[in-house]
């Protein structure tokens, strides 16, 4: 692997290729597309959190002038029993307030909304299950009467969909050896990803059954397969064209509208557009799981952890599939612990099906562990970073979930924190400081890329990963580095499902790593072709030609006097040397290196109101290699702000009937710019050996540590801990009053 000092493009901070379009309002997002003769689709949603659907009568809606179609789940293939299908349109039961029941397509949005009011639904209202603890009771009302834990047909129906368990060593013996033990319970509420752009799509179908979908998504190929699955089509029937995306953070890895729009288009023969409003986004799309986490950690006087246990219960919403697995796998990941036990529970409640949200599962469980580590540091009178260094995982440490860690950067991040001026300078008495560590596994998966060379040597990259955080710029930088040509001569495009090879979604912090790897390999394919054409031109063997600084040159020792041939030179004559230059690569990327971070928050608290103000926040994170440092910092800052929002204010507030009472950005309080200090970033680079430039994914980890760092800062200032999030003014004030 080349040293950082040798890079010419990587590590620079050029302007992103899509920047002008976005800042001038020219970029097209999900709701921007309109087609001739297009209809507007709207969804009728359940007013009950739990109800049996006895009858849906669409006839009055269908009879309205301007209404072209009205559908319910009966219009979906009944042989498809995927929970995804039942979430998109409820069948026998409405499982949460806002669950989609029916949909209409009409000439205008207003007519469609009026038609929804004509749909008659007869319900048998059932009591909802809204709280984890209640849902786990043996005699709880069941969200699904058919569900058995771990699909074990011998067990009775339960709201516990699945269990997890990881164990190593002897926990009893480990705690017996401990000089200090911390044992606490923590609750984290549901939080929404808070993407600014709501879900939106346009679908059109032709009489032959071919479908085209324009939509805002993190994964057009996943939209294709999900829509095909729900509607019992083949993927070759469906073309998905991704728009620009106004945020996703995991929430746009799921389909809600697309199959409905396709079905309405099939029935009407017209394009159908569907756009959620903000209230629908809050009521019907997946937030992150609410959790209850019980942690116990024991350590020797010198800080060495001797044993730890975690009991983790995650709300799945109305269908199985919370991220409790990754929660279990990540809870102790930063530490080298000989004796531990982790138990996890995936629990159904009458709330929207949860969806991925940055590092899904890790923020909640690691909030609990990182708060417990902070308590341990208090009891041991140790610096919290020293305590973490004492127990930190490093290369060769056996991760709690089994495998040995390859090179990782946790120790480097902790050491960087120790010497950082923001940490060295201790806060004043009225400021509390809290430290926490973050972690995410990162994933690789499948990606494709094509690199074409124009006749003037300009480079065009075609790939299938929607650009959420500046990935086009990162692709161009890796191509510039590999080809040895200026960044400004390269452009990157995100293709649709028929114009580029398969790419898994943009998520899991995989795009710069995996799609970037495909771009690098496609560039290497171009270089190989250029070398062959130079060899042809010079009448040499291809083995006698090297590629250096963007030019084909004879290798040292080859006795020939020729001028180097640049990419542009070779492109100029490509019609005579074999035709267009096109490099391709497709791969299933392995070896996405794990990413660790260290954060600390400095806060003040208004004891009259309970308001917590973040005065300073510092994020240190291992990026492996920062391809475009500004976008790495952007991920760190964005994740930090989302984590701070989750720590301080964000929560779904339900009434006793399971109705969300704060389904708007007015009442669901995400941080705004005036709430936040500058997020100071320091990028640590411990290269990932599985990527030619050392890349690790960086998008997930930043949201993990801010929850506990903020809790620990509040604890530092108050002198007692508030275990449950959010640390909102009412909650903090109540805790202060109780302590007084």
């Amino acid at each position: 692997m080349a040293e950082a000092a040798n890079f010419k493009a990587i590590g620079t901070r050029p302007i992103r290729p899509d920047g002008v379009e976005k800042v001038t309002g020219r970029a097209n997002f999900g709701a921007d597309l309109n087609l001739p003769d297009m209809l507007h689709g709207k969804v009728l949603r359940s007013p009950h959190a739990h109800a049996r659907i006895k009858r849906i009568d669409l006839t009055k809606a269908q009879a309205m002038e301007g209404v072209y179609a009205a559908i319910s789940s009966a219009d979906f293939p009944q042989e498809v029993t995927l929970s995804l299908s039942k979430n998109i349109l409820a069948r026998d039961k409405a499982l949460y307030h806002g669950h989609a029941l029916a949909a209409v397509a009409a000439r205008t949005p207003r007519i469609a909304e009026e038609a929804l009011e004509r749909i008659e639904v007869e319900y048998e209202v059932l009591p909802p299950v809204l709280i984890l603890d209640d849902a786990m009771q043996e005699k709880s009302t069941l969200v699904s009467e058919d569900l058995r834990t771990n699909d074990d047909e011998s067990s009775p129906p339960s709201n516990i969909a699945a269990t997890q368990r990881f164990e190593r060593g002897d926990v009893t013996q480990g705690f017996a050896e401990a000089d200090v033990i911390v044992q606490e319970e923590f609750r984290v509420p549901s939080a929404h990803q808070g993407y600014i752009e709501p879900h939106a799509c346009v679908a059109t179908s032709n009489p032959g059954g071919r479908v085209t979908i324009w939509c805002t998504t993190q994964g057009p190929f996943e939209v294709r397969s999900a829509t095909a699955g729900v509607l019992n089509k083949t993927v070759s029937d469906i073309k998905v064209i991704p728009s620009e995306i106004g945020g996703g953070f995991g929430g746009k890895t799921v389909v809600y509208l697309e199959p409905v729009a396709v079905r309405l288009s099939e029935l009407t023969g017209k394009p159908v557009k569907m756009v959620m409003n903000r209230e629908e986004v809050f009521r019907a799309t997946g937030p992150a799981s609410a959790t209850l986490c019980k942690i116990k950690v024991g350590a020797k006087k010198d800080g060495r952890i001797t044993a730890a246990t975690a009991w983790l219960a995650y709300e799945a919403g109305a269908f199985p599939g919370s991220p409790v697995g990754p929660g279990c796998m990540s809870v102790f990941a930063p530490y080298d612990i000989d004796n531990f036990l982790v138990e996890g529970y995936d629990v159904l409640v009458n709330k929207p099906k949860v969806a991925a949200y940055r590092a899904p599962g890790a923020p909640q469980s690691m909030h609990a562990m990182e708060c417990a580590i902070d308590e341990l540091a208090q009891k041991l009178d140790m610096d919290p970073i020293d305590l973490r260094l004492k127990n930190a995982a490093k290369e060769g440490t056996v991760a709690p979930y089994g495998p040995k860690f390859p090179p990782i950067g946790l120790v480097e991040c902790l050491e960087a924190a120790k010497r950082h001026p923001n940490y060295v300078n201790k806060p004043s008495e009225e400021v509390g400081r809290g430290v926490a560590v973050g972690f995410w596994f990162n994933i690789g998966m499948q990606s494709s890329a094509e690199v074409t060379i124009a006749e003037d040597g300009a480079v065009s990259i075609m790939e299938g990963s929607p650009d959420i955080g500046g990935s086009r710029a990162s692709m161009c930088l890796m191509a510039a580095e590999t080809l040895g040509v200026p960044y400004e001569t390269i452009n990157a495009h995100v293709g649709d499902t028929e114009s580029t090879g398969f790419c898994n979604l943009t998520g899991g912090s995989r795009t710069t790593f995996a799609t970037g790897l495909a771009v690098v390999k496609a560039c290497e394919d171009v270089i190989a072709q250029c070398k062959a054409r130079a060899a042809m031109t010079w009448e040499l063997d291809v083995e006698q030609v090297a590629w250096r600084d963007g030019q084909a040159v004879p290798k040292p020792g080859v006795n020939i006097d020729v001028d180097p041939l640049s990419l542009a030179d070779i492109a100029k004559t490509m019609s005579r040397t074999g035709g267009p230059l096109l490099g391709r690569a497709s791969l299933n990327a392995q070896g996405a290196g794990a990413c660790f971070s260290v954060n600390w928050t400095d806060v003040t608290i208004d004891r009259e109101t309970g308001k917590v103000d973040v005065k300073a926040f510092t994020a240190i994170q291992d990026a492996g290699r920062a391809i475009h440092p500004s976008y790495v910092e952007g991920q760190m800052q964005g994740g930090a702000v989302q984590g701070l929002g989750w720590a301080l204010n964000e929560e779904y507030i339900y009434d006793e009937n399971g109705v969300v009472e704060n389904a708007s950005f007015l009442d669901y309080r995400v941080p705004v710019a005036s709430d936040m200090p500058m997020i100071d970033c320091e990028i640590v680079e411990v290269p990932n050996p599985s990527h030619p430039y050392g890349v690790r994914g960086v998008g997930e980890t930043p949201i993990v540590a801010p929850l506990a760092a903020t809790s620990n800062a509040v604890r530092d200032l108050l002198g007692f801990r508030i275990n449950d999030l959010p640390l909102s003014p009412p909650n903090v004030l109540a805790a202060i009053d109780e302590a007084d």
Partner: protein, 80 residues
Amino acid sequence: MARVVFPDHLHRFTDGTHELEVDCSSFRQLVRILEQTWPGIESVLTSTMVAIDGQLFQDAWFEKISPDSEVFFLQRIEGG
């Protein structure tokens, strides 16, 4: 022989077996050997994640396994 470890949530497919040693040279061969022992487990193992000698694979198949390899089956990880 390679050391193969199943997390607890897969024990119902392995008759409670947590760990065993298997003589195999690739992941594909490992899965086919395990399928002979526990019919039906192939579809479970090929839809989960696996760590071979510390390297995580979402979709392993032809990956090599050496006699001193460690193979851990894990819950599939997605992302946000």
